[in-house]
């Protein structure tokens, strides 16, 4: 290969760390058309399309990049939208390093970075939005069949959009007052501006999808009614329920779940209190427990909401940390402190019941556990971190409100819905499920992939081609 491919990705402008740590504006600023074309030229248009295999929704990556090379941005976005209904969100929050970009041939060249597929996806999605009118795809003739979708997160919205394109009458029921799922209540504004989510939701509505907010299925709409009124149901209610480690002091004032903290700030805009009515009291010294993406989001949000010092407290080390490297680097640049090998054993409070610090067991790494990561074991030493706010980001579990009202639906041993991963079919006839409520907390694009597969399966089921319940 005598081609001269620049070894590094075309850099994307970012707000400098010292500025952005004080505001909620987006950190990464996107490509200009020139930068996008330059980056697109790094792509080899491989006929075997290895990158596509790494993409959970199989976007035809070389084709959309080819359009960009030619300056045909409309062609590029049209290609993406054949596969992905939420490109502006995915271009921003997908872990491309584990997906498409991990398979990219250019990235295999020693010393070379893969093509910046995610940045290019983001670029064309944003470009289209700037053009004003967004082009609508072909919508098949109405089939006269009704499908209900429960939950307006990435899985539900994707299933809804694909089914609408196929000609079904789709209604999405969402418990919150806003559609988007984790995209609106979890992922912060500075990584994914809510305007972008709104834009993507508008697009899905234009496809003919009806979205009913404030509708809690199992409560506002009983499960039986849903099963009677609709020809098929897709459940994408997510894994929104927070887990607590359960150490003494969990209910002290100032101890939050990441879900609560992020919901207050992102969905309810508590950072704009008192202009917005929802309050949040951000401490001066904040300890965030855990080192996944949610922990990084909580830590960086706490900084922006006015904390003087933010510490991540994690029981393993940097190497085992589940967060995306990019988010970790962003957090480091912004001044988040990392306390490795610390396992909280108690939250300590003052006489008024306000948290004043975290008592930790000092850990060391022992033998690998089931996940293949080395298991942290206590050294016997203890450590105390002063903190007037603690945010636990140690994982999520199944959203129960629907499941509690739907006992016929089989679950697996972790409490998630038992569903076929290829079709989403559950134990109940005509009911499909996908996303975090099946797999446990995963990624936006995997949830979308599950929504797509289920949409296809629902179409086959409703057109009488296939029936896994055999009756």
């Amino acid at each position: 290969m005598a081609l001269k491919i620049p070894p590094k990705k075309t850099p994307m402008k970012e707000q400098p760390p010292e500025e952005r740590r004080k505001n909620f504006f987006e950190v990464a600023l996107g490509y200009t058309p020139e930068e996008a074309i330059a980056e697109a030229q790094r792509c080899l248009t491989c006929p075997t399309k290895p990158c596509v295999k790494g993409c959970p929704v199989h976007i035809d990556i070389p084709t959309f990049i080819k359009h960009i090379k030619q300056g045909d941005f409309q062609g590029a976005i049209d290609t993406i939208k054949l596969y992905n209904n939420l490109p502006a969100a995915c271009g921003r929050v997908c872990p491309q390093e584990n997906q498409c970009e991990s398979q990219c041939v250019v990235g295999r060249i020693p010393g070379s970075e893969p093509v910046a597929i995610g940045r290019l996806e983001r670029f064309v999605a944003d470009w289209e939005a700037e053009q004003g009118e967004v082009k609508l795809p072909e919508i098949k003739e109405k089939k006269g069949k009704k499908v209900a979708v429960v939950g307006a997160g990435p899985s539900g919205l994707t299933a809804a959009a694909d089914l609408a394109k196929l000609g079904y009458d789709v209604t999405v029921f969402e418990a919150f007052h806003k559609p988007g799922g984790v995209l609106v209540y979890g992922i912060p504004e500075f990584r994914l501006p809510k305007k972008i989510v709104e834009r993507e939701v508008e697009y899905i509505k234009k496809l003919g999808v009806k979205i009913v907010t404030n509708a809690v299925v199992g409560k506002t709409i009983p499960v039986d009614e849903l099963l009677n009124e609709y020809d098929a149901v897709f459940i994408g209610v997510g894994a929104g329920a927070p887990k607590f480690i359960g150490v003494p002091g969990t209910n002290l004032n100032g101890v939050y779940s990441a879900s609560e903290f992020l919901t207050r700030v992102n969905l309810m805009k508590a950072y704009l209190f008192p202009e917005y009515d929802t309050p949040v009291t951000v401490g001066k010294k904040v300890a965030v427990i855990g080192a996944g993406n949610t922990a990084m989001d909580a830590a960086r949000t706490a900084l922006r909401a006015g904390a003087e010092k933010v510490m991540i407290v994690y029981r393993r080390t940097e190497k085992e940390m589940p967060a995306r490297l990019e988010e970790y680097h962003h957090a480091v640049e912004e001044g988040v402190e990392f306390h490795w090998l610390r396992q909280p054993i108690e939250y300590v409070g003052d006489e008024n019941g306000n948290v004043i610090g975290v008592k930790c067991a000092v850990m060391k790494l022992g033998k690998p556990d089931d996940s293949g990561r080395r298991r942290p074991v206590p050294t016997g030493e203890e450590d105390f971190l002063e903190a007037d706010m603690v945010i636990e980001a140690v994982g999520q579990q199944a959203q129960r409100i629907l499941l509690d009202e739907f006992p016929q639906l089989e679950r697996n041993k972790w409490g998630y819905i038992e569903a076929d991963l290829e079709t989403g079919a559950t134990s109940v006839k005509g009911v499909f499920a996908g996303g975090d409520i099946v797999t446990g907390a995963a990624t936006v694009i995997e949830a979308m992939g599950a929504g797509k597969k289920a949409a296809k399966a629902i179409d086959r089921y409703l057109s009488g081609e296939w029936n896994p319940w055999n009756d």
């Binding site: 418990a175 409560k219 359960g246 939050y256 309810m268 008192p274 202009e275 917005y276 309050p279």
Partner: protein
Amino acid sequence: MAHKIVRKRKLAHLVHEFVIEAPLIAEHAKPGHFIVVRIHEKGERIPLTIADTYKDDGTFKMIVRAVGKSTYELCMMKEEDELLDVVGPLGKPSEIENYGRVLLIGGGVGIATLHPIAKALYEAGNEIYSILGGRSKEYVIMEEDFKKYGEVLVTTDDGSYGMKGLVTDGMEHLVKEKSLNFDVAWAVGPTVMMKFAAFKGKELGIPKMWVSLNPIMVDGTGMCGACRVTVGGEIKFACVDGPEFDGYQVEWDEIIRRMNQYKEREKIALERFLEKVGDVSWL
């Protein structure tokens, strides 16, 4: 979908009754359920209990006491105005069955929460005694409604109406002086009242007392944990595991402390609001 205020009526200073259009809630609500209201785009999510439902015209009743910025703002709304979001019914319904003789203890706007429970217990065949408590006569609401279901004893702090004293004095009166034995009790009202009612109930040998907790909530659907309370040594989420719990098992001091978490912020918000809207002595 916005929800119209069909009727509104002042019950006492800062206490207002609303009838809200919400057909799905009217159809599916059971005693013990609550709803979450958001007034406008910048509003917070306010949990409120359902005081009654009217299936025929698709409406439900709620009674609101103005305590913070959001509830002041809500109480200042007029008939025909619309609430931006109303979601529900949420929570687990009350466990209604024929227990025998039931004691109902209501305080302040908690009396409204207790009302559908009273009605359902009455319909299930229970013999019902109610104690309705308030600061003064004005704050004892819905007395006539409760009289339909059984004997009512009113207590007021200042003695302006009924028996002078607290609901716990009323409990003592019924159990000791009137020698009544109760099979179960419900206490709904300010948290401090429920705490003392639970202590008194235990002391008087009432076998079980349900209380309806109203901790700080955000979503009301089990997704945040803001509403967590300790009951019987375990962490429970009031919005999905409750709001009704066994009052003898609740860690009261923790709840009371957690409810005060945003006191300072709430004060700022209310002060700013009152400055803006001017005189609200009519409310």
